[in-house]
Amino acid sequence: MSAILSSPANGSPDSNQASDAAPTSRIRRGGRGQAGGGHGHQGPAGSDTTRARGPRESPLSRAGALIVMLVFTLYFLIPIWWLFIASTKSAPQFGNTPALWFADFNLFENIGQLIAYRDGVYLKWMLNSVLYAGLGALLGTLFAAMCGYALAKYRFPGRDAIFNVVLGGVLVPATALALPLFLIFSQVGLTNTFWSVFLPSLVSPFGVYLTRIFAASSVPDELLEASRLDGAGEIRTFFTISVRLMFPALVTVFLFQFVAIWNNFFLPLIMLRDETLFPVTLGLYAWNSQVNQIPELRLYVLVGAFLSIIPLVITFLLLQRFWRSGLGAGSVK
């Protein structure tokens, strides 16, 4: 696992930056080889000479920093570890074996039962979530990027007005819109449909904000002029040149939109009645509120919860070298 975790980050901005910075960066590099090992020894031998100029940090503060981080690592990871362990146990063993260690390894039997339960409604939920979040974030990112790019690269009347309205939209949270959206969709008779959750998810004002900043700083006007001289149309220039230059920002917008849709709870809660349209979060919520009546559901809730966080973790890890640089661009401004 740790090999997968560390490889994508090799091209990440901090290693780039570290390579042209002097003393502090060397120590960063020194620490890198043992990432995850985390014991309290002093840094590698080379580091002491490189740091000779400034005042030295005592071993005490190094140990202190490491201890703080290790304690919080437990805080962040134990709940997930517990969830993993819980989903490997059979229902009777869940209550009467040590909660943080394996009993009989039943994970695959549990997954089989979960998938078989009620004609595979869980798989349907996962598929729905992937559709809502994957497709929604993809289209949403494209639309936001086109708009942000136009706001950054063209001059036209009303440009600032549009940007200010969009900026106001960033401050209006999605949950505040759930009820108004429900009222609108019930007017046109579209509640309890796929579209009632999918369509509103396509709008990402924050995406417009981020891509606009990024386009302004990373797509040079000279390049656009050169492309025009070559006879390429504006739309073609956008898709062939500008999108490539804006790529880190686009990945960032995609990921945050993906997470926002995947985690969105109020909108599906208020829109959907039909169980087969639920995203996985709403489905698990529905099961969890029935646990007291149907105790067997508890196991399915736990296994289902564990399975449902895996796609998101994998997406984040695979794309991290992109989104981390994009994130930096957005927050500095």
Binding site: A144, I162, P173, I213, I270
Partner: protein, 309 residues
């Protein structure tokens, strides 16, 4: 946000040499770029908000007890009800208290971790960065279900603690929820601040070190002031998130009877709309959205004013 406006202003004059009259080039392309977002934004942001405001101005009238219900214009009748609604304002007070404690704790931790990740005294940075960020991949609903089990007196792996302290009691459940939110979002905020720290040129630290400044001093006098914009950004998003709290308390209702159906403002909206009393729910929504906007916008202005001094 003001900086972004400046960058646009700097890059623009290069292309426009003759000011007063604005000649718009590439009109068609601009329209194609903007239209999809603009249409969706109008349909699913502006129209619903307008419609909610409209709905909030209606009242239901019946001819006699069993007569047909009609919606008629009622002015601010629903808003009078909102302002007289005790449970709603209790729920507002509850999330404000929640935010006043949880947001500083969460951002304080995020800042501490970001500074440690950025300082030369810590080893194993990549591992910690990932480990702390993983909870962000857990949806609020799932995180709440998970912690619900962890808090439970019988099923928790920490029964020694949970049998003596009832985290799901009326006194503590708000802070139990605060812990769930903190658990999910510390890593996310840490990364935003950390990315901002990475963009500071290292030469600045060089100079400080030559002057004999230690890591603590560098963090306090150089790093924190320079990443202030990032901290303000995370604070605004956290304030918005706090006022909109819904998923976690909704899940906790199955674990604890102390979470009422009007525990947070959004729960009140949901409960009211399910009665169904759509007009009152719309009025709640409008008031809540306005309050969120004013609070986050006010915070932004307040921090900018401090910068100007």
């Amino acid at each position: 946000m003001s900086v972004s406006v400046e960058t646009a202003a700097v890059s623009a004059p290069r292309r426009r040499v003759r000011p007063p009259k604005l000649v718009v080039q590439h009109k068609k392309a601009i329209a194609i770029f903007i239209a999809p977002f603009a249409v969706l934004f109008a349909l699913f942001y502006l129209v619903p908000i307008g419609y909610a405001v409209y709905q909030s101005l209606l009242v239901i009238q019946r001819d006699g007890t069993f007569g047909q219900a009609r919606e008629v214009f009622g002015g601010f009748a629903q808003y009078v009800q909102v302002f007289q609604n005790g449970p709603f304002w209790q729920s507002v007070g509850r999330v404000l208290l929640f935010g006043a404690v949880q947001v500083p704790v969460m951002l304080g931790l995020a800042l501490l971790f970001a500074l440690l990740l950025d300082s030369p005294i810590l080893r194993g940075k990549r591992f910690f960065r990932l480990a702390f960020f993983v909870p962000y991949a857990v949806p609020g609903v799932i995180a709440a279900i998970m912690w619900g089990f962890l808090y439970s007196p019988n099923l928790s792996p920490f029964t020694a603690v949970t049998q003596n302290i009832d985290f799901l009691s009326a006194d503590l459940v708000l802070w139990a929820i605060a812990n769930v939110v903190t658990w999910v979002f510390v890593g996310y905020n840490m990364l935003i601040i950390y990315s901002s720290l990475l963009s500071i040129p290292t030469e600045i630290y060089e100079a400080a070190r030559l002057d004999g400044a230690g890591q603590m001093r560098i963090a306090w006098s150089i790093k924190i002031p320079l990443v202030m914009p990032a901290i303000v950004l995370t604070a605004i998003f956290s304030i918005i998130g706090t006022l909109q709290l819904l998923a976690e308390p909704q899940v906790f209702r199955t674990f604890s009877s102390a979470v009422s159906s009007t525990f947070t403002p959004n729960l009140t909206v949901y409960t009211t709309s399910a009665i169904p009393n759509v007009n009152l729910a719309a009025a709640f929504s409008v008031v809540l959205a306005l309050a969120t906007f004013i609070l986050s916008f006010g915070f932004l202005k307040f921090t900018q004013r401090k910068d100007d001094k």
